[in-house]
């Protein structure tokens, strides 16, 4: 008999909280200010959320940027399922969602928004997807949490929080839009 694998069947246990509701709000507000400052306003900017975790954050960042600048940048969503590099690794097949970019990318500065930056493979896939839709002037990356353990040379331009984690841990961003209280938590598979 093979010993039971420490895998997906094990329940996740809450280890610690990284950000509470106020912390999430502060982090997003700071990111919004940073990206307006760095890009000298919101003209020529567009926000693109990575489905599914990054999309709600992109919606919130757009609202904050609009409050600061009085100008609403366009919003899009990118789904990376068809661009993943692990599709033949025997993992569960990812669900495919729509990519919606209701504007021409060419010449715009895109701010790619995701909840957690980990190996960097999701960002790589998202970049490849975006390039198939046009040639943006630049792409910047905003994440709520950078948890380390990069496997590709990718870094974020705007980071809400840098967290020390182990690979056994799972970082989850809970949001009000998805029926939770805003918070960022670290979970671990039960032993």
């Amino acid at each position: 008999m093979t010993p039971p694998r420490r895998g997906l069947e094990q329940p996740l246990v809450l280890l610690r909280e990284l950000l509470d509701e106020a912390g999430v709000a502060r982090a997003l507000r700071r990111i919004a200010h940073e990206l307006v400052e760095r890009n000298r306003g919101a003209g020529g900017l567009a926000l693109v959320g990575v489905r599914t975790g990054g999309l709600q954050l992109a919606v919130r960042l757009r609202r904050l940027v609009t409050e600061i600048e009085g100008h609403e940048p366009p919003l899009g969503a990118v789904d990376i399922a068809l661009y993943r590099d692990d599709i033949f690794q025997g993992l569960p097949r990812p669900e495919v969602g729509p990519t919606e970019l209701p504007f021409a990318l060419d010449g715009l500065t895109l701010v790619l928004v995701d909840d957690v930056l980990y190996t960097g493979r999701t960002v790589r896939a998202a970049l490849d997807a975006l390039m198939d839709y046009g040639r943006p002037r630049a792409v910047q990356l905003a994440v709520l949490v950078d948890r380390g353990h990069r496997e590709l040379p990718i870094q974020a331009d705007y980071v809400g929080l840098v967290a020390q984690t182990t690979r056994a841990e799972s970082v989850r961003v809970k949001l009000a839009e998805l029926g939770e209280v805003d918070r960022v938590v670290v979970l671990e598979r039960g032993a």
């Binding site: 993992l91 097949r93 990812p94 669900e95 729509p98 990519t99 839709y133």
Partner: protein
């Protein structure tokens, strides 16, 4: 999302409603890719799809080839006229030889019912039935269903008339399965010689959703969708199914006048190739209510969805890691 738990796509029969809906939803995503300037995603990079077409086909073969290429798979096309089958090699020997070249998916069009299932039994590759004799043509039914859904917003509760040589039509059979699974009511219509007795039994407990009639007016009355099948001219006279194409056209051909019996917003469909002036009035084929070319566009999206599901294997997951 529910699992699409099949290694092959041999027919619509045997699929669940959830699996059919999953394929249609997925086709929606792939449809959007065909609208982009760069109509290609890297998903099946390095995978090989062999299109083995041992019966004439332009539309379906091209559609599968484009679908494979838009997923970045390598597509190889073999058609009956140039293959070793003309030298007497059997289908299963051909299949075993192709398998030895390690394809990931084999798409088969063949004149014998059950050919796809026979090939699936001897190869490791996933097999897609692209039409086997008078049995099934599942991707045609899926593209028809998704076209109907795109135009009507739903399939459930619609009245769909399928008119023509029902007896010899794999398109009719696959559509009968798919449309009743999705909750539509299907009227099958054709001359008595082309209308098998008891065909509604094919869908078992859903047979209450099927009506069989040899009267075109009855099939058209209040229909939301009118699907005309190609009449195979070679079956006229010689085999005694109908006297001649003019007589067929007069009684079973769709004209604007007959279409007036259907709902005012009814759409006209045809799996192609159209015999203009036989089963379908040329004015209708090109008219505002014809969705024939939309069917062709959706065909690529549906085949991408099928190749994606069969070509990637694995189990679907509800939550990304």
């Amino acid at each position: 999302m529910t699992a699409f738990a099949h290694r092959h796509l041999l027919g619509i029969e045997g699929l669940t409603r959830e699996e059919v809906v999953q394929l249609l939803d997925l086709a929606g995503t792939f449809h959007a890719i065909s609208e982009r300037a760069i109509k290609k995603v890297p998903t099946l990079r390095g995978r090989t799809v062999i299109n083995l077409f041992l019966e004439p086909s332009t539309r379906t073969r091209t559609s599968f080839e484009i679908a494979a290429k838009r997923l970045s798979a390598d597509a190889v096309n073999i058609s009956g006229q140039v293959s070793s089958t003309v030298k007497g090699e059997t289908l299963l020997d051909t299949a075993r030889n192709l398998q030895a070249m390690k394809p990931d998916v084999i798409v088969l069009r063949h004149g014998s019912s059950g050919a796809a299932a026979s090939v699936a039994a001897v190869v490791d590759a996933a097999v897609v039935n692209a039409g086997d004799g008078t049995h099934e043509h599942p991707t045609q039914a899926l593209l028809d269903a998704v076209t109907i859904r795109a135009h009507k917003g739903r399939v459930e509760g619609l009245e769909v008339a399928i008119v023509g040589d029902i007896a010899h039509s794999r398109v009719a059979r696959s559509n009968l399965h798919a449309l009743t699974l999705l909750g539509a009511n299907v009227r099958l219509c054709g001359p008595r010689t082309m209308l098998p007795v008891g065909i509604e039994q094919l869908v078992g407990e859903r047979k209450g959703q099927v009506r069989v009639t040899h009267r075109l007016e009855e099939a058209l009355e209040g229909a939301d969708v009118v699907m005309m099948l190609r009449i195979q001219k070679e079956r006229a006279g010689a085999v005694g199914l109908f006297p001649n194409t003019r007589e067929y056209s007069r009684v079973y051909g769709l004209s604007a006048q007959k279409l007036a019996l259907a709902r005012p917003d009814a759409i006209v469909m045809h799996p192609g190739p159209v015999n203009r002036g036989v089963e379908l009035d040329p004015g209708l084929a090109d008219g505002a209510r014809s969705v024939i070319l939309d069917q062709v566009t959706w065909g690529v999206a549906v085949r991408m969805a099928v190749l994606y599901l069969l070509g990637t294997g694995g189990e679907p997951v509800a939550e990304a890691p």
